[in-house]
Symmetry: C2
Subunit: 710 residues, 2 copies
């Protein structure tokens, strides 16, 4: 190590080498996605100098997760709180991050002027005395970066700005400290350094640069830079010491700005310096260097207002070019999938929908009744919207004609229960989904069961009741009118959000059911005595507005616009391809809108192209009650249908009856369609159930779920 | 075999046993799907009696593919042409098929009265002499069936109507023919029978029933039934012979109606009969039976107008219930998938869209540019619509965030080229698809290439040109404006149907490009001299109407309605989930509409909710030029934009230039955006290309294709 530098040659400096821990990129991604979003303001960060015990290894400046503010931490322009939490193994130094929104922005950065800007900060800190307060500002660094969040790849470039002395510093002498000092001096220096480090353990930032005062009795003391004049007055020999984390036979990069400081601040032309180095946390004077450099003030530096020349962009593998890193391969596939999914969603909040509440979507438990064309597409879209809890219910098996229209199945799934195959498919798309498949048929009015099957049917009713209870949203996507009755009743009774989507041959309807008729009553114990008032109350919601209708209310309450409300050919068993894609898109958007609405299930019906929508505060736009469209006519309308007091699905009459008599009521309704009629005065449901009583028990495969009446 | 029946006991008859060949069900399915559709009229069919050489085996009546008329055969109420094409091994007998449209219809059939109806036909044929013309009418049978075409399962029930003698026939004697006849008589009978069969090989239907005349010199001759009186006059011994395909020790089912015929027609009370049986195609008098039965005319049969009692519904496995058969398991999965796919499509023609031309859809070659969210959904929907030739082009790889929105990928596909993974997925959904994946980037103006890459870029241009040439329809579903330019130019030059779909954050546009500007010119050799006239011609199509615009015409020609035509935030890289599903649904429907239109690419623009659509003759409804919608506003409009004479994508200026200079022109346009501007006077394209120049070369994965400007 003992090196006798050739006198008069230019002084060399060992540049820093940057290293970035994966944790840094993870935290940066998270910050960018959730907090910074489109903000491109420079951000203060903290780098860490790590001591290096191995020969020939350059000084490392490392970025860790802690280099960045944590997400909940209030962003401020001052140095992050972590700055002073260094230790012997990582001395914090202040840096600044310029993270751009695009790769173009990254490439467009004027690196020359950016470096000048940073150098000017050092220049100013030297002139205004900041260096004496916190000498680490001499080590200011910066990083420009672009985070390609979609595939976890990052592009970045470090700069360690160094003011350029002109003429450059020359070596007068440079030797191992142990060679330059007497044994006494060396021992005293070692213990002084160790003591200094221990004393300043919590304020490392302030003591990277220090004065080494060697008294005539060989006693060595360390002093702060601010004490230089006092030291000179004491007549002691003074070395400009600095913590030099590298281990090469010439000084590390920190000496460059140190010399500039000494030159500007104290006007010296000969500078004695100590490159203080450690081995395993203790002073190592064999590795440490003592040298003398000759410097002179550059002519341009005469005025404080000048812009000093600087160098410092890191050279990467011998070239002046940015670094690239991709973390995707190192990440666990599931967590990668989760973060990718979150990315797509969180990007929406950056600019388009800043108020979007994503956590309500991921927390909402969705029950999808029917895993056919609509059910498959709705489940896919729920996942894309960020829903994570999905239960699919269907009694059928995948038929060979299904995969072409039902997007969760392939031919390999044929013969398998749809609910099971669908859930497997959801997991292949997104392994973090919490999906469950339920193989079960929905009991239907107009489909009376034999006495020996009654018990099993009642168990199905109970099971469906429990499923509705433990979900927040129920999608009614089955293929017959009558299979929607019990779910409608249960949702209305439990006041759950229900979304119906149904297809005709070329037309569709998507609607949200209104709140249940009892949703404004808290005390359910007094139900029977309340039944008289209920009848009136049940048509208004707790805001006193008219309650929105359910799928069965349509039977008696004509929608405002009836052009798209044609009865479809009842035997139709096909729908135009693509109709289900369109319908599902609107159905899931409708749910997202309800969940974002302050009033939720009680939200008023809004209309497309209407100037007087009561609340246009929904961040996802208007929230209609019903959407009907025609693919032949390439048209779509929004409309509203209010709750009917004689509805078989949601009137207070039937809900009260259900709450009073439970499964007995359901059994009676199922086995005796006249009963529902009697209770509500309607004949529609029975007629419909009769004419649709297609009992496909023959084959082993299920009938296609494609198409139902509107 | 020699059986001496106990005299005076009731005469037993061996019932027929039905067997149905798979070929019958396949042809029935095909007929039902393509020709009969909803028609439930009774259909004449032909059953075949097969001789049976094994003991104890009942008479089989078999239905084969030929039992049904072929699809191209004109349906008539007479017996099918195959009727007389029997041979020794299959004697045709007339039947009738009642195939219902639903299982309910099947179950609702009044079998008692149906049997009576068929029995009445036999009754009438006996009275009106039809039996003498074609004795096989005594074997009339019928089948009721329901074909569950979706899963290839069938429900059916045979009836072999037999008029019930009352009182029933009694056995006087019943013995093996060889026992009853002298050796001479037997030999003569055998040779007479063989001769009779050979003589009547082509008219088997007429000779299932015949008279056996035994002369006193033991010579046996066979005569037609009509000759009975003549035979009686000859004083010969006459047996009523019939071809009895069973091999049990009592007569087969044909004897029942034979006895009724003899009783009614000739008033006999004692009937000598011969159950003529064969072994390996030759008379076998050991198996044949000769017997005498005593019969008497039922009192009800006195008047011809009565409805005779009948029996005959086949007993299946000991029970009076229908048969079920499922062919799905026996079918090759691919052909099963094909037929299932066809089924869904052909069902559309039954009632909803009888004029739908499916073969043009399956023959159309589709090129999909971009295999992202839109491309995946469009490819799926094309298959569901019956398109079978699909090429997908994309340069990117499946990124981890893709599967949640791009419906052809799962997490397992990550890292794979999209075009390859998409095609694999299409095959898993429908193995008969003819899909090809092309990994290729589309050259783009405003993205100049380095000189060393020029050749490869020109090869890409050439390849894209060739791909456009060998497809009929091109979907432009890429994620940047500028990547749509070259495909637009190529489609316009080759006059190919081009469909653009593009997404904003919450809005979409779907449009079909108008016909190319040169589409009315046949002689492309005289192009340059025509260029002056072209400039005027190019804005009208060959019908003299204004040509519809392309995606780039929008830049200069404002659409009629601009409410949905807002410029979207240019850095938007996300779209609301579901938007692509909706957009794809309309895009593929738009193509289907063009292909069903008489004018195809030249079809006029129609509008939703408009009374004056020029041609409402399109079987799929209105055919707009552009559809724009907003998911926030839950609105959708149709609009039209006419071709612009300064369009960079489809004006005659650029098309002529391209046709004259080919790749040189493209290269110039790509490397020098100003050139296109100069040629057309537009600055829009360049601006757009500049501002969208997001070059994502950094990572290994491709950027999401989700979102582009509108």
């Amino acid at each position: 190590m003992d090196v006798d530098a050739e006198e008069g040659t230019l002084l060399k400096f060992a540049p820093f080498q940057s290293t970035v821990d994966e944790g840094f990129w993870h935290r940066l991604s998270s910050l960018k996605l959730n907090k910074l979003r489109l903000d491109e303001s420079p951000m203060p960060i903290t780098g860490f100098l790590a001591p290096c015990s191995h020969k020939q290894v350059p000084s490392r400046l490392t970025l860790l997760a802690e280099s960045l503010p944590s997400e909940d931490q209030k962003q401020s322009s001052s140095l992050p709180a972590t700055l002073n939490q260094g230790n012997r193994n990582r001395c914090p130094v202040p840096g600044i991050l310029y993270n751009t929104n695009t790769l173009e922005g990254f490439n467009a950065i004027d690196r020359v002027s950016l470096l000048e800007t940073e150098a000017k900060k050092i220049w100013d800190d030297i002139h205004n005395g900041k260096v004496e307060e916190s000498s680490s500002v001499l080590l200011r660094f910066m990083v420009i970066s672009f985070a390609e969040l979609k595939n976890w790849s990052f592009c970045y470039w470090f700069a360690f700005p160094a003011l350029m002395l002109d003429p450059a510093a020359r070596v007068v002498s440079l030797r191992s400290a142990s060679q330059c000092l007497s044994l006494e001096q060396a021992e005293s220096l070692s213990s002084a350094c160790n003591e200094w480090q221990n004393l300043n353990l919590d304020v490392t930032a302030g003591v990277l640069f220090f004065l080494v005062c060697i008294a005539s009795d060989s006693r060595v003391t360390l002093r702060h830079l601010a004490d230089w004049e006092a030291c000179m007055d004491d007549g002691q020999k003074v070395l400009f010491g600095f913590y030099d984390p590298c281990n090469v036979p010439y000084p590390g990069w920190p000496l460059r700005n140190y010399l500039a400081y000494i030159c500007i601040r104290w006007g010296l032309e000969k500078v004695h310096f100590l490159c203080y180095r450690e081995t395993r946390g203790f002073a190592d004077l064999g590795f440490s260097l003592i040298g003398e450099a000759s410097i002179s003030v550059s002519p341009e530096w005469k005025t404080r207002d000048c812009t000093p020349k600087a160098v410092g962009w890191e050279v990467n593998k011998g070239n002046a070019k940015p670094n690239f890193i991709s973390l995707a391969k190192a990440m666990d596939p599931t967590s990668l999938a989760i973060s990718s999914a979150d990315l797509n969603l969180k990007l929406m909040k950056w600019r388009a929908v800043p108020d979007l509440n994503l956590s309500i979507l991921s927390a909402t438990r969705c029950l999808i009744l029917g895993a056919g064309t609509l059910g498959c597409e709705v489940a896919r879209l729920l996942m894309a919207w960020g829903f994570r809890k999905i239960t699919m219910l269907d009694s059928g098996k995948v038929a060979i004609s299904n995969p072409l229209r039902q997007s969760l199945y392939t031919l390999d799934d044929c013969g398998e229960f749809k609910a099971i195959a669908a859930v497997r498919s959801l997991n292949r798309i997104f392994p973090a989904v919490e999906a469950e498949g339920i193989v079960m048929a929905i009991p239907m009015p107009g489909h009376p069961v034999a006495e020996q099957e009654e018990q099993s049917m009642l168990e199905d009713c109970k099971r469906l009741h429990d499923l509705v209870e433990c979900h927040d949203v129920i999608f009614l996507l089955t293929d017959t009118r009558e299979s929607r009755w019990l779910p409608t009743l249960l949702c209305s009774s439990a006041n759950k959000i229900a979304i119906t989507a149904a297809l005709g041959f070329e037309s569709f309807v998507v609607m949200r059911h209104g709140a249940g008729p009892l949703s404004m009553i808290k005390d359910s114990g007094a139900l029977s005595s309340l039944s008289a008032e209920m009848h009136n109350l049940s048509l208004t919601n707790r805001m006193g507005k008219r309650r929105l209708g359910c799928y069965f209310c349509n039977d008696v309450v004509a929608p405002v616009d009836s052009t798209a409300n044609r009865t479809l050919d009842q035997q139709c068993t096909v729908a135009l391809p693509g109709l289900a894609s369109i319908t599902s898109g609107y159905a899931v958007k409708l749910l997202a809108g309800i969940l974002q609405d302050r009033l939720g299930i009680f939200a008023d019906a809004e209309f497309a192209n209407s100037a007087n929508n009561p609340s246009s505060e929904n961040c996802l736009g208007i929230l209609p009650h019903q959407i009907r469209g025609s693919l032949s006519q390439m048209s779509m309308i929004t409309l509203v249908g209010h709750a009917s007091c004689s509805c078989t699905g949601c009137s207070s009459t039937v809900i009260l009856e259900y709450q009073k008599r439970g499964l007995d009521f359901v059994l009676q309704a199922i086995n005796t369609p006249m009963y529902l009629e009697d209770r509500t005065g309607l004949t529609e449901l029975k007629k419909s159930a009769d004419s649709f009583n297609l009992d496909w028990e023959v084959g082993t495969d299920d009938a296609e779920d494609d198409c139902v009446e509107i």
